[in-house]
Amino acid sequence: MNVNRRQVLWAGGGIGAAVLLAACGGGDETSSDSPAKANEKPRRGGTLRVGALGRASAITRDPHGTQANESDYLIISLVHDTLTVPGTKPNTVPRLAASWKASDDLKTWTFTLAKGAKFHDGTPVTAEDVVWSLKRLRNTPSGASRLPGIKPENIKAEGDDTVVLVSDYANAELPQLTRLTTFVLKKDTAEKDLGKAPGTGPFKLDWFRSGNARLVRNEDWYGGEVYLDAIEVKIFESPQAMANALLAGQIDVASNVGAVAARTAEKRGDIQIVRRPNDMAMPIVMRTTDGPFADAKVREALRLAVDREAMVKQVLSGYGTVANDILGTGDPAYAKDIPQRKRDLAKAKQLLKEADFDLSKTYKLLTTEDIPGLAEAATLFASQVREAGVKVEVVKQESATFWEKTWLKGDLYTTYWGTNDSVVFFASKTLVSDSGQNEAGWKNAEFDAAYKKAMATKDAAARAKILRELQQIEYDASGYLLWGMADGIDLAGAAVRNLPTLPGYGRVQLETAWLAR
């Protein structure tokens, strides 16, 4: 009952406030451009107050736990470093690991630690610390999915500054796996000290209380100059409250606050809207193994029946981009040259006819309200495919029911992914025949072969070519209909500079931010 009430509240409160604000916004139609100028010299000093989403009941301090709260993850990633971090091009860049190289069979990967890396208490980081941390991570219940193919006994130290990981199979993209969760703590950190254990990151923990924290600059950080004196992280349960706090000047950054808040902020000249493209994929999954969508022609027809521009405009309020049914749009290896699929109702109808698709039936599209826009996307999709003669009824499921009963099993459902910067990520997790989260139950021998070949190819150019082939197969035959990519949206006060624009977890890289005041 509480959950229902909360949902009503979010919807009602959000819409109410947005409408009222829009009404009183006046004639100022110019959306706020970033006041930051490229030639500004970074200034040292100041405290950045950052709002991040999280729930008090879900607080976790364990860097190797499952962090449901963005606020917890933000704090952990500013205090502790991972071996590598997300980048733009390439999408994996050095952090605690300064460099890495692979053996010829692409199974053994050697990481060299950054020179001068020290914990906040002054002790140097050793390979033993890293090995202990990686093994601890690998031995958590989520460990096998975070470091796939790497057994705990295959994580070893070599000397003081070298760590060797041996994969069970060739993996050309292994360093990607070390980006998000490989937080390094001191060897033998006690369980009870996890929350206050010294890290190696750009900021040191000053205090933590009930999800809120104050972090102060690490003057000795090996990773470069940190400008901010301090970062204060404030936990927010609702994006609406976080947006209000920003509009009222109580915080400087509202992290991942969403499109509704951005629309409100458009009316204000003193707020920066930071768009982080390729942040969230909300594909529609069509089951390929059996059921009404098993025929590839039917899936192709639905992909041709959807009006992608309209979806982006209406579901995402324009804060997004049209996509082409290939997952991993933020990857430098993403195949931009594959022609954009466009709406073609005549061809869709033709394909449905060829496939002998039963147009008299009504098909259920299962969805949730887990993230904003998901259920709306389903509804709009249903009305669009109706024009091709396909009757779709949207059924909203409660989150837990959906994940238990529908996900990986349903014929037609919506899903969402917040990690979108790599084609290989999706190939390995959701597209290869035997992948653990094969959402559409897709089995394609050609695709599997291309994936294996790419993973065993050391030469980057040759691998890119194979990845292009792999994406062509995905485009032609997979069970996904990816109509668009939602932007990640942060709001910031006028004085904030140099916020990260990477999608997904890249939003936490605040070490380069500074304040012009």
Partner: protein, 332 residues
């Protein structure tokens, strides 16, 4: 035990000095019964979470954990044990103040240690404001029954009590924070986990209290009207006693049991409303803990919240019963 106490209470002579003993004994009986009721309620909480789809292991896992990983997590959280056993373990920890561990490995007592006093502060202030405002407004309206003031107060009270907390809250934020910039829009906490300034309490307290003021003003007004029909009031009026004296010495004491009952009911509504209001104002209370815990199927956290709020509501209801027993002692 509850039975024996109530029986004793019934045999106690209800006159003179015995009245206090009577009240104390029946209060003890009530306490015991309410504690049992609370235990039943907690059992219902565990059972209800069990009936919801999904479980805490599922809710706190990452996508892509295999069935074996999930089973391991389930085992770590003790979810593979029968619900009765888990409930019993949790209940036996209660007397020592051990509220168990959340599905994410944090101590529930720690999770509630700051939010609970914060919610008590918010609810307490809202209750106080409700009491003062509704008695004042009720008396004011009752001073001239049927007059324009009475009609205005009664009509607006009805209107206000029909407003849900979230409408009041959103309106307050818009007007007092975003348009006029007089008060903070949300509550931020400082290093000790409490609101960083007193101004941050103003809007949440108002948002919680306003609907309850509407409700209680009507109760006060109606109770005073009922009381005014009593023969001794008519006598007092005919005797020419000043109106103020009749109100404070005759009307209000007579209406007190009803007013107290109304406020006691509001306590539950205030704590329920706190879930909504805390979310809108980002107030660091147990409302947000509860909402999240339900989504996570986190029985120990949900039960912890229910237990502490249950104790508070029981305490307030008991206090209300005592006040009523005392106020209506001679007549009931």
């Amino acid at each position: 035990m509850a039975g024996s106490l109530t029986t004793t209470a019934q045999h106690e002579p209800a006159a003179g000095a015995g009245r206090l003993t009577h009240a104390a004994l029946s209060a003890a009986g009530v306490v015991v019964r309410r504690i049992l009721l609370l235990a039943v309620l907690l059992a219902v909480v565990f059972a209800a979470v069990e009936l919801l789809p999904g479980d805490a292991a599922n809710a706190t896992s990452e996508r892509g954990e295999s069935a074996a990983d999930l089973a391991e997590r389930r085992h770590l959280l003790g979810l593979d044990r029968p619900v009765l056993e888990r409930f019993w373990d949790w209940m036996t920890g209660l007397p020592t103040g051990d509220l168990g561990t959340s599905a994410r490995g944090e101590s529930v007592a720690d999770l509630l240690s700051r939010p609970f006093p914060n919610t008590l502060l918010l609810g307490g202030l809202a209750l106080l404001l409700t009491l003062v405002a509704s008695v004042a407004l009720g008396c004011w309206a009752a001073a001239k029954p049927g007059g324009p003031l009475d009609r205005a107060v009664s009509a607006s009270a009805t209107g206000i009590l029909a407003l849900p907390e979230f409408v009041v809250a959103v309106a307050l934020v818009l007007v007092f924070a975003l348009w006029t910039d007089w008060l903070p829009a949300v509550t931020l906490t400082d290093a000790d986990g409490s609101p960083a300034s007193w101004e941050m309490l103003v809007l949440p307290v108002l948002a919680l209290a306003i609907p309850q003021i509407g409700w209680n003003t009507r109760i006060v007004r109606a109770a005073l009207a009922d009381e005014a029909k009593a023969p001794h009031i008519e006598t007092a009026v005919l005797d020419g006693l000043p109106r103020g004296r009749i109100l404070t010495h005759h009307l209000l004491p007579g209406a007190l049991p009803t007013i107290t009952a109304g406020l006691a009911t509001s306590t539950g509504m205030l704590l329920g409303g706190a879930v909504v209001v805390e979310t809108i104002f980002n107030y660091p209370g147990i409302g947000s803990v509860l909402a999240g815990a339900v989504a996570d199927r986190d029985s120990p956290v949900i039960a912890g919240v229910v237990a502490v709020t249950g104790v508070v509501i029981t305490g307030v209801l008991l206090l209300a019963d005592l006040v009523r027993a005392w106020a209506s002692g001679g007549r009931a």
